[in-house]
């Protein structure tokens, strides 16, 4: 399988759709050419080379806001706008927007108790490091 430069850049940023991330990881175990390609991209980045796709992705330029994703879940956007949100999340595979969608969906039907015990644990294990 061949991957586009944009996909490999997204892989390096842990921004690619999870299924594609796993595919690349599997391929990397046997394909030294792919490792070399990723290595070259990293080196180019170090030298300051920019691609349109990486700038677009890193700045979340077309990511809908969390509120818009929530509106999409509620079904209150126009059909065209809603269709675009689905495209961005599912076809482009935007990881950040997928995370928002998963979280919002979970909030709708999940067990708030589990979530609140998680928050409590994060807080208790880190609050001691705040400035006193």
């Amino acid at each position: 399988m061949t991957y586009s430069l944009a996909q490999l850049e997204a892989y390096l940023d842990e921004d690619l759709d999870a299924g594609m991330m796993s595919n690349i990881e599997d391929t990397l175990r046997e394909d030294t050419q792919l490792l070399q390609s990723l290595s070259t991209i990293l080196s180019q980045r170090e030298s300051g080379v920019h691609s349109v796709g990486s700038v677009w992705r890193r700045a979340s330029i077309t990511c809908p806001s969390r509120e818009t994703i929530a509106d999409s879940l509620l079904g209150i956007l126009s059909d065209d706008h809603n269709d675009y949100i689905h495209f961005h999340i599912n076809e482009v595979g935007c990881r950040l927007c997928q995370a928002h969608l998963d979280d919002l969906t979970a909030q709708q039907d999940v067990n708030q108790e589990m979530s609140s015990s998680r928050r409590k644990r994060y807080f208790e294990s880190t609050a001691g490091y705040l400035k006193k």
Partner: protein, 221 residues
């Protein structure tokens, strides 16, 4: 750019207010957990990674630029912690940087298709180039969103963000390949002009100088 509420929240955390820290965790833990959980099925491992991300944020507070959006900063820390976890577990191999040496022993990081003029610019210069490109893309995509040009937006996102070829984009969106070439031509020209208007050379962005699709485009763009 961070909003005022975020700046205030960060300031309160810097002051050591525990309720502010609790508020930040409440706001962001769910989305960070979901981001990690797409890659790791084990919920306990996901929770540990998110916890490490919050710890990383606390440790970086003294140097955190409060003008930076909080969410993107938290996601970037979380992404690094996730990558570390995957490397430790052998899922994600470490990628070395490739270097080459010329006959004088100078090391460079050039690769195929990249002009030497793109290299070795100051960090400040590189940041301003990225900002100019980001602004140009944002203006164009916002214009398409506000005018309901969703097909154009989808087309260019598939080409630029996913790296798909024109033919594959045409198949996916069920539009003629010439239409794809027209959209791309329009996008590249407008973004290039906006970048140039900010006194940045478009030559440093290879995709804005690649004219290979122009033979496909029609005059009705």
């Amino acid at each position: 750019m961070a909003n005022q509420a975020e700046k205030l929240l960060v300031q309160r955390i810097r002051d050591g207010q525990e309720e502010a820290w609790q508020e930040l965790i409440r706001q962001f833990e769910g989305r960070l957990f979901a981001y990690v959980h797409r890659r790791i099925a084990d919920r306990a491992a996901c929770e540990d990674i998110v916890q490490e991300a919050f710890m990383g944020f606390v440790n970086s507070l003294p140097n955190f630029d409060e003008n930076r959006p909080l969410e993107s900063f938290l996601f970037s820390i979380c992404s690094n912690k996730l990558t570390d976890h995957l490397r430790r577990n052998g899922r994600r191999p470490a990628i070395p940087m490739s270097t080459t040496e010329d006959s004088q022993g100078h090391r460079s990081f050039t690769g195929p298709g990249r002009a030497a003029s793109t290299l070795f610019r100051s960090q400040e210069r590189k940041n301003s180039e990225v900002a100019a490109l980001e602004e140009a893309i944002r203006e164009q995509t916002l214009h398409w969103q506000s005018t309901g040009k969703w097909e154009k937006l989808k087309c260019i996102e598939l080409i630029m963000v996913c790296g798909m070829a024109n033919r594959a984009v045409a198949d996916q969106l069920n539009i003629p390949q010439t239409q794809v070439a027209n959209y791309k031509f329009e996008f590249v020209n407008r973004v290039r002009d906006r970048v140039k208007a900010q006194s940045v050379s478009a030559d440093i962005f290879p995709e804005l100088t690649d004219q290979s699709d122009q033979s496909d485009q029609k005059s009705d763009a």
